[in-house]
Symmetry: C2
């Protein structure tokens, strides 16, 4: 094995937007949610993360750059993903470069990661979902990991909960699971991207500033202080999940739209019920929602896919 080679892999992963929301963890370190969630994965041509991972014997440590700026990998979430992927690494051979990496070599080799979002980071557009899904997927390709997407989703989940849903296209369900070790808390594809290909999603970026409260700390505070969250998780969401799966299966836009709006509003309601309250909407969000509601009512039924989505698919 020479001393100057570099192997690289690049992956591109779209963001996903929940139509039945994930808000609240029952296990903070494994990132296990208090309820199932369902999302739609966006077209990778639009909002996506592009991540290149490289390995070389000259790299002295794991390092990462996000949008061109180095960030620390010392956090538990990055460490979990790197550890779980390395554990599953296989032999890799690049005959052209004359490089062969044995399974056991991966423990000593370091990676460099360069990740770019083509949309605002931490502004409510699920940048961490796309980011961790892409990181895990790119590392899995680099290290020749044999696991399927669902198994990879359980690793991406440990980076950012909603990341597990970005490993599939179309409509994706994150099953909360029951096991304490999180092994059954994985994403599954409900239908692929061709199933409902006349569904359009418009993202209105109402503000591109970083959220004042991160999802991580916001969720923690909601779990600790909101008296409505557990009722939502146990009584409301399970029924909505069933209805949403039906709506998606049957292309029932009316039901889909009604459930999506109601669940988005309830998520924001739980944020407001948190102490101190979390505001993820502003006056512009309110105005957009009100216009969309009026428009849909004037049409009799929510025919205006793109306008209906507009009011919801952002904070």
């Amino acid at each position: 094995m020479g001393e100057t080679w570099v192997l690289m892999k690049t992956a591109q992963t779209p963001t996903n937007i929940a139509v039945i929301k994930y808000w609240g963890k029952r296990d903070e370190s494994l990132i296990l949610p208090v309820n199932d969630s369902i999302s739609v994965t966006l077209d990778p041509a639009h909002l996506c993360t592009t991540t290149t991972v490289a390995v070389s014997p000259v790299f002295q440590q794991d390092r990462m750059w996000l949008n061109g700026k180095e960030i620390s990998l010392s956090g538990g979430r990055f460490q979990s993903c790197l550890r779980e992927i390395r554990r599953r690494a296989s032999e890799v051979e690049d005959k052209e470069k004359g490089v062969k990496i044995e399974k056991k070599d991966w423990e000593k080799l370091h990676v460099h990661i360069a990740s770019y979002n083509n949309f605002p980071t931490a502004a409510g557009l699920a940048s961490s979902a796309a980011g961790f899904a892409c990181l895990v997927f790119a590392l899995a390709k680099l290290m020749n990991v044999k696991e399927d997407e669902s198994q990879l989703s359980a690793i991406a989940r440990q980076g950012s909960g909603s990341a597990c849903r970005s490993l599939f296209g179309g409509f994706v369900k994150w099953i909360m699971g029951k096991e304490e070790d999180g092994s059954d808390s994985v994403a599954v594809q409900l239908v692929d991207e061709k199933h409902w290909d006349d569904l359009f999603i418009v993202i209105a970026v109402v503000s591109s500033r970083q959220k004042e409260t991160s999802s991580t700390s916001g969720m923690r505070e909601s779990v600790e202080t909101s008296l409505l969250l557990q009722h939502r998780a146990k009584e409301v969401v399970p029924k909505r999940i069933l209805k949403m799966e039906e709506a998606i299966k049957n292309h029932s836009f009316e039901s889909f739209a009604q459930l999506t709006c109601a669940d988005s509003n309830q998520f924001h309601a739980v944020c407001l019920d948190t102490c101190p309250p979390i505001f993820y909407m502003n006056d512009t969000s309110h105005r957009i929602i009100s216009y969309v509601e009026k428009w849909n009512r004037s049409e009799g039924s929510p025919r205006w896919h793109i306008h209906l989505m507009l009011g919801r698919m952002q904070f």
Copy 2:
């Protein structure tokens, strides 16, 4: 009985601000709530309604002016209050004017009502609470009604639910009651205005425009569509009512402030969980709340009464 006399009475009633909120009716026409509520009555020197009621044999019909503009009395709420007060009217004698009205005369006599608010109407400052309480109280004085404040509160309640709480000073509890006819749905004074006389309340009028959704239709929509409202009414509020009564009794500002903020936020959360969602806060409200939360945290405990209240006591 001459033909040109006029008898008049004037009353002044302050608005009240709920610290445990009323949101949702179980009976629309009798105005019976889904939960108990507790409010603090403001100093009448500040936000109040002044109502003058007059009776004269020359009046051809009941009429009312609000802030100088005639409004219709045909609505069920005005009719309920007028009917219930008239039913309890007694003999009135004004020897100076040589006027004597027998109990039975009240059925044929008409009243004119002039009401003024010294604060914005229908902007989230409980104008209807002060208004109906004042109307009922002034009519009761004019017609020599013998009922006590609690009995009058059950009449004012039929004008506007929260009006029942404005018939007392200090801290007031509206007991939701159990009877179908609403006879036990009355206000009671918990402590009078002297009990906690170093409590200051600051009202910040964030917007003086009329609310886009009236309380009446907003509540109806919340009851019909929010999946969180019943949980709040049955599970959350009863415990909070007990804690709030304790906090008031013991002058425990910390507990009082925590409960007030949490309940205000939960009320707004239920509004958001309504379909279509109801927005009673704007960016300025959000900013005020965030400042107050930071201020209180930096102080260790919520010592800043006036600032803490500032963020809550308006929509």
